[in-house]
Amino acid sequence: MNGWKDSLGNFDPNALMYQLPFLLIVGFGLLVLVLEAFSKGSSKRWLMWVAVVGIAAGFIGAYLAWKKLGVMVPGDAQVVLDIARGAAPPSTDIPYRELFDGMLIFDRFGVFMNIVFLVGALLTVLLVADYMKEHGFEFGEVFALILFATAGMMLLAAANDLITVFLGLETMSLAVYVLTGSWRRSPKSAEAAMKYFLMGAFATGLLLYGIALIYGVTGATNLHTIATEAPKVGSNPLFLIGVFLVIVAFGFKIAAVPFHMWAPDAYEGAPTPVTAFMAAGVKAAAFAGLLRFFGHALGNERLVWGPAGWGSLMWLLAIVTMTLGNLSALRQDNIKRMLAYSSIAHAGYLLIGVVAAGFGAKTAQPAVLFYLLAYTFTTIGAFGVVAWLGNRGDERLLVDDWAGLGSRHPAAAMAMTIFMLSLAGMPPTAGFFGKFYIFRAAMEAHQQLAGQTGMMMALVVIAVVNSLISVYYYLRIVMAMYFREPARETSPLRSPAVALALIGSALFVLQMGLLPSRYLDMATQSLIGR
């Protein structure tokens, strides 16, 4: 039992490079805490810039890690061709580093996810400072909490062991629970935090139970070991129940129907920038975990399909989630609730990608990654406009409150329109390419299953019908903004930080829609190692 010697003996100082983003974010989170404690003055707004610097450092860290992880043959086209011919994928290694006794794995998939989280954190930090000031519940720890939540997401994205998956999920969730309830004068915020916390705790319990069962059957918590063991024990009922429980737990986190009931209330009650963070970051992190565990480790055909396969369950989950999410969103008059249901529906679209990944569609992983990046910019942007428009005592959350915004605040209305179109998946916005990529991946899976079943095709058709339905309620906002006369005065937040976040995300949404090539290349290079 000289494990610690092995550990240290094999320890590669370079390994720190790979987790540079994580370390930087945690470090800056601590720095924010210390500065908050020792600074005088009532306004803690300046801490925002510390957090921004931290996130910028995180980006640099991600860049270095990306470089360090080296090259892979780009282009999904290559893999696609191989699959089309029934040949094995080319023997080009996907570079990765497995560290800390297999607890963490570093690959470009993780780095890409880190970038997504950093984007989410950056936009949230920019939005939240002035929002809190306007609504009178400023506190400096919010930046530390956002950074810590981001660190939790990074942990989850790098997790190669169910233990670290669990810890990452908890680290992230705990911080977000607190953020949700941080508007303490608002009863809705308290209610939101309570519901979110209870449901989250419930999901955590299920996750642990599932992990325990899987461990019991496979004797391992390491994802790679599980992947090799799983085909042997695939039909063991305890294993199936374990996998099932993990799906349910993740279903809670991504707010998939029927585990979504907390989401609308939590999204509505939380401070708007926090809602944005929940909708983008938390969801992205959960999908990173889903892809690693289901899309990759359990991506074995025997496990995926059939009455007891996780794929068939997730297939159903995707359909129900999309459909009910969209249909419920149709009836909402409150924009935050509408976006909450829309976010549920988007979880459904993303689940298609996970199912396709399970079937071995090689474009599915990059598709989900690209979608998440696009979705992060879009949804935070949309919530950002909501946050921007309200002021103290008047949050302007109803669709009718937005009437005539197009003539009053053309820039904001334009930005909101871009976000809505992107959510609806219209070109030339990022959302279009995201959706297209996901559908394409599903179609690739259909091709691979050709002759066996038309279920992937059915999934795509249902998704397409759903995205059509969704256009209606997204355009409701656009219609209110442009086609109606202004109802009453608005005095939105006058904040350069918020403006920066909104314009930045709008420009990125457009850029990813007009010149998506680089982002797509990046996503196609970000495959899960090992």
Partner: protein, 262 residues
């Protein structure tokens, strides 16, 4: 209040039993040990390379009768206690039931050879944390109120819920029914030394600082967040524009200072 006293007495008795039984079990080296071990579904593998329990593992040994009796008793108590926690309306009763559950769990840990964990369970959960809970409950001394009502707003929601529930149940049953065999039990070929070593403070410590270093560190981050969170949510309100603020809440009808979320 008589009910509370009865439950307290029962829990006390249970705690005493645990304290008596635990050392006895721990000291009992060979005897039924292998049988006890059998109940452990792959005891927290020391380094993850232990063979998995699967079809080709050696035939399971039957656990001893005494162990079975203890396990079912303690397991049943744990479940009953947990149920009581969520069904009792009196917070003190609920908390005390929770203590009972924790204690019962501690016994299960002992049976799994996780001695360190068992002691920690008793010390930290049943001891420190629960005392804190009781204190808090006593201090707040809230009136009993109706159970919190979930917002099942529409019949659609209920329908989905029922459908999902039925689906889950059917799925569970079908999966179980499809199974041709139950999970095999095995001692996984452990030597006696290994079994004795397993679950001790030393072994746990060693694992924590080698293999589980990253989770260990991550937990520290988690705890830090919890502390900050508690701080943020429990800190007294600052005096800033109360009137405007009350109107500013989304509902527009904030009650005066209800003390945050919890």
């Amino acid at each position: 209040m008589t009910r509370v006293r009865v439950i307290l007495a029962a829990l006390l008795a249970l705690g005493l039993t645990v304290l008596c039984v635990a050392p006895a079990l721990a000291a009992d080296g060979d005897g039924d040990r292998a049988g006890v071990n059998g109940d452990a579904i792959a005891p927290a593998a020391a380094n993850g390379e232990l063979p998995a329990i699967s079809g080709d593992s050696p035939a399971p040994q039957k656990p001893g009768t005494r162990d079975l009796i203890i396990f079912w008793t303690v397991g049943g108590l744990a479940i009953l206690g947990a149920l009581a926690v969520i069904t009792r309306k009196n917070p003190v009763t609920a908390v005390m039931c929770l203590v009972g559950t924790f204690l019962a769990l501690a016994v299960v840990y002992i049976m799994l050879l996780a001695h360190f964990l068992a002691v920690i369970q008793v010390l930290v959960y049943a001891g420190a944390i629960m005392v804190l809970f009781v204190f808090v409950v006593m201090i707040i001394n809230r009136e009993e109120s109706d159970a919190w009502e979930l917002s099942w707003k529409t019949w659609i929601g209920r329908g989905v819920g029922v459908a999902a529930g039925v689906f889950l149940a059917v799925r569970f049953i079908t999966i179980l029914a499809r199974s041709t065999r139950v999970l095999g039990l095995s001692d996984a070929g452990w030597s006696r030394e290994e079994m004795q070593h397993f679950g001790t403070t030393r072994a746990v410590g060693e694992l924590l600082f080698t293999r589980y270093l990253v989770p260990f560190e991550a937990v520290s981050l988690l705890l830090l967040i919890a502390v900050i969170g508690a701080l943020v949510l429990a800190r007294p309100h600052e005096k800033v524009g109360d009137a405007a603020d009350a109107a500013g809440s989304p509902a527009g009808q904030a009650k005066p200072d209800k003390g945050g979320a919890h």
